[in-house]
Symmetry: C2
Subunit: 284 residues, 2 copies
């Protein structure tokens, strides 16, 4: 099987390395930056530097670009993909992507299926790509009612073969709603956290909690501002939800109400424990 990977950044590069490590598939790589292609060849992350015309050889094409670039790439090259092949992506929002390109490709007998590899690092670019980024990660696939079952199964098999920990199926809408909470809100909160004037005195006073809360404050603002705006409504709801809860703790503090404060903290602890129990039960 031949796999084309479009965009050799952190995610595209790590996908190439994972595929090469875990399968015998041929990996063709494309990037507008010749240095990334050169490094990918040197590190044997890809077998072949491809031209766009080589898309007709790929059984699966993974477009690993930013959201707008992903849509543009597919819209600009609908005739180049192999008939009967699968095209997928790696974007952190799915409804916008799936709605933008599925029909265009279907007209060309090409199946688009949206996907979201659930891993990342707080660095960008091929230099940071690694062959084990997805070892513990979900590969979320967001089929629609029109997605052919056989193609869906083929993409699931591919993801597991390439080294993902598990495949999760979701509708594009549900994906975007949950991801607003599990990923987008985390990046906003972390980025907001470091804006306290107290940051300048932090050194020496930080244990793990500060480092955990602020790790993803270091984000790629170009990519994330796109992702956030393409998922406005769910993300706004999540921000408003956490603000509402933060205000409850603040009110209990101001009122010196220890019982209320303890209750608020207990509810949070129990919710976290329940989510850990559920998580552990899935992995045991």
């Amino acid at each position: 099987m031949k796999i084309a990977v479009i965009g050799l950044g952190l995610i595209g590069g790590s996908l190439c390395k994972s595929i090469k490590k875990n399968t015998s598939y041929t990996v063709m790589g494309f990037d507008i930056n010749p240095k990334s292609v050169k490094k990918a060849l040197e590190q044997e992350a890809i077998d072949i530097e491809m031209e766009l015309d080589d898309l007709e050889k790929a059984d699966i094409t993974i477009v690993a670009l930013y959201p707008e670039q992903t849509v543009d790439f597919i819209k600009n090259n609908p005739d180049k993909f192999k008939k009967g092949s699968i095209v997928t992506d790696t974007c952190g929002i799915k409804e916008y992507i799936v709605e933008s390109v599925t029909d265009i490709l279907a007209e060309k007998s090409v199946t688009f299926i949206g996907a979201h590899p659930m891993a990342g690092r707080e660095f960008s670019g091929f230099d940071y790509s690694v062959d084990n980024l997805f070892e513990k990660a979900s590969f979320i696939i967001t089929p629609t009612k029109k997605t052919p079952m056989k193609k869906l199964e083929q993409l699931e098999d591919f993801a597991l073969a390439a080294g993902f920990f598990k495949v999760v199926l979701s509708s594009p809408q549900e994906h975007d709603k949950v991801i607003a909470f599990t990923s987008q809100l985390a990046h906003i909160v972390s980025n907001a956290y470091v804006k306290s004037p107290s940051l300048k005195n932090e050194s020496g006073f930080s244990a793990g909690s500060f480092l955990d809360l602020t790790r993803v404050a270091r984000l790629n603002e170009e990519m994330w501002s796109d992702l956030f705006l393409l998922n406005k409504k769910p993300l706004e709801e999540e921000i408003e939800t956490i603000i509402k809860h933060l205000e409850e703790y603040n009110k209990a503090l101001k009122e010196n109400n220890k019982e209320e404060l303890k209750k608020l903290l207990r509810i949070g602890r129990q919710l976290k424990e329940q989510s850990m129990d559920y998580y552990n039960s899935l992995n045991s």
Copy 2:
């Protein structure tokens, strides 16, 4: 040298184990729970189970209890400590502790110096204590103008001998202000984070960011509600600061203002990078 550790919970137990691992000091342990004492003896975390009268033998006494208990323990036993010895504590707030007990002990020729070992785990009790909890941790010491320099140096030397990564000096007031940001706010935000209705769908959609943001949501609400209320003002300011910043992102989203959103994210990224640079420069 003889060290008394009062309270064999996560912190007290880990201190005992670190002292035994890294020094040849004699460790005497005290806990109201006989099971913890028994385990500490069996695991050789302590050399001797002590009575309160044995406090007169200790060159350094570490009171590793909750804030109110720490103050009560010292107030109830001022005559028992060895003349010329040092008494310290492990509480996450310092002004309240230092002001409550320093003079009482000074009258008995005993030096109280507040301290805060900067490490923890999201579990409580001796069973979770480990001998390497403080390997990468600061030992914050909060002397006052009255603290004898020799005693301060003795406590610094002790902390480094016991295996702490470094000693940080701070006034009690400054400690409480910074800790409201680096530790207390982290616990509140993490605890608030898991209260979204989206939590129930989180499984399979979580990469590292969600797990990092919510790790310390699992907290001991009895201890933390005390710590928060004893540090009301600085903590209220930090909560209000992060709410204010979260509202800025939300406003940019609602206004579909990509430039503003990108700017807000860039400022956060740069602040985080600066704090990492500073951190790295200290450790290089």
